[in-house]
Amino acid sequence: MGKNFKTLEKKDILHFCNSLSHSVNFKNRINLYLRKSQSSPFPHLLGFEGLPSFEFYAEKVTLSSSDESYLLRILRDNIKGDLEAHLLHPEKEKYQYVFVCLDNLHRDYLTDAHGRVYLGQIDLDLSQIKASLCPPSAIFDLDPATSPLSVTLRPRYATGDFEGIELRVEFFSGEKSRILKVQATNLPDNVEIKKIALVINELEILVAVPQKGLAIFEPPENSEVFQINLYE
């Protein structure tokens, strides 16, 4: 019995270490498939409004979900050789701060407020690419300036099992800034939160792997409004 417990505990610890160091196996995973249709002659219309003109880029590959509601375009910056991905969906909750998992690389990336993600100079065989998405299952808004030291939040946006979920947020004073303890409550038994993202602004996003639905964040000084996303 004791040995079994120890083995189980060791397994749990290894699983935890793995979840912090490798990409997470999201339950709410949307698989993407290569689209064989002809590539758009005007990629800038879909993904590069306001950015340098499209001739700097060459569209490399387009993937879509089985219902074609999600469209992921992976493009190469021909000058730098960097890859960028652009996620498109009619609803902003489904392209903003979505995890893009590149299964070949065992890595996941988080899109920004425009559905864009910088992949950098990665070794990616685009003809063999396998990708999936994990959009947030619940989104909460928090204004630290007006919130008391401890507050329970209801989601601004939630899907399926996450509709009844609540988020308990507590503030603690840290060395340089306030520390945030975020804990999901009312979680159904079958639900496990794989990641929690604290969106501070366009540039600052912190991603934690929660333990028992709980994560501790140390946001930078003078952070104003937060968005907290839960991923299953």
């Binding site: 270490c17 065992h106 934690a208 792997v209 028992k212 709980l214 994560a215």
Partner: protein, 346 residues
């Protein structure tokens, strides 16, 4: 290569953003094991008070270090083990790094307890059963029913010719203070009551309290230990009494301040610094020593001095002050290091 140095190299890899998942996983596992070791060595049964297992606390403590930012970097980890710190420990002895690492992990562990403090839910029913079982088996305590209540009495054996002082229900706070003073935190129920009996015997105190009050006293003692006293004695491999260490440390710091004061006085006599600058150097050194106790130096020496002399420029510091401050810091570090070494080899 020894374990701690390997950890240091893995940390260096993370700071330089030059690591693979395996390195990261190894580092996380090593930190989890270090924290688990600390928790298990010191906690005993008091963790049953919380709704978190030691493993949960260890994982939570480590996970807060590995929060990633948008670039996939670890800002908290990189702040605690920045390039300057890692570089310093690469050339220092392994023991120094081990001490720093334990200090950092311990501080983070303590913070985790603090964050969880509102969630600690003692398993009162289970503890109460165990207290009852222990007291029934004990020959030192008596259990008797008084109406609905179950009263626990303890009468010291050695009367010293005088009747013992009696602590009753309305003096439960005093008994809690005795438990805390006697260092009963972190003890399992049987040992707790055995030591409590010894303490009551020593203080010539008689008690007559309800079982519920004793339960509360036990829980409060463990909570206090959990939140406040889990710290100091982890700093060193050898289990030395924490109270002795703090007492010694205060003495060493006072002695060091005196030494620095004398050195600075000599600088004033030689017209190397102005008399009014002496206090500025001393204050900067006080802050630095405080940081050494709390995880290590995190900013430049110039910043320490600038706190008390805001008008000082980098150029002025380099030309006139740096040599003096660096000499004082080197001296102070060696002084404390020698004191610590001497204390540990006692």
């Amino acid at each position: 290569m020894a374990g701690e140095k390997k950890l240091l190299l893995k940390l260096l890899g993370i700071i330089n953003n030059n690591y693979n998942e395996k390195d990261l996983e190894d580092l996380i596992l090593a930190l989890v094991n270090q924290i688990l070791l600390i928790i298990r060595r010191k906690s005993g049964l008091h963790f049953r008070l919380a709704s978190y297992e030691p493993r949960d606390i260890a994982l939570l403590t480590v996970s807060s270090l590995f929060v990633r930012n948008k670039q996939g970097r670890f800002p908290v980890l990189e702040r605690l083990f920045n390039w300057k710190i890692v570089e310093k420990f690469l050339s220092a002895s392994e023991t120094d790094f081990q001490r720093y690492l334990k200090n950092i992990l311990l501080r983070r562990l303590k913070q985790t307890f603090y964050y969880l403090s509102s969630e600690i839910r003692p398993e009162r029913a289970r503890i109460k059963r165990e207290i009852l079982y222990t007291l029934k088996k004990s020959s030192e305590y008596n259990l008797q029913k008084a109406g609905e209540k179950l009263l626990v009495t303890f009468i010291p054996q050695n009367s010293h010719g005088q009747p013992p002082e009696k602590l009753t229900e309305d003096q439960a706070d005093r008994l809690l203070a005795i438990c805390l003073d006697s260092g009963l935190g972190g003890l399992q129920v049987p040992k707790f009551f055995k030591k409590l009996a010894e303490s009551l015997e020593r203080n010539h105190l008689q008690i007559e309290l309800t079982i519920q009050q004793l339960l509360e006293i036990y829980v409060e003692t463990q909570k206090h230990y959990l939140l406040a006293e889990v710290s100091s004695s982890f700093h060193y491999k050898k289990q030395l009494p924490a109270s002795d260490f703090h007492e010694n440390l205060c003495g060493w710091i006072n002695e060091l301040r005196e030494r620095n004061n004398r050195l600075l006085h000599k600088y004033v006599q030689k017209n190397k610094i102005k008399p009014e600058e002496k206090e500025i150097y001393l204050k900067a050194l006080d802050d630095l020593i405080m940081d050494w106790q709390d995880g290590g130096q995190e900013k430049s020496l110039f910043s320490y001095l600038q706190n008390y002399q805001p008008e000082i420029s980098q150029e002025e510091y380099r030309q006139e002050k740096r040599k003096i401050l660096e000499y004082l810091v080197k001296n102070s570090r060696n002084f404390l290091k020698n004191k610590l070494d001497a204390w540990q080899t006692l």
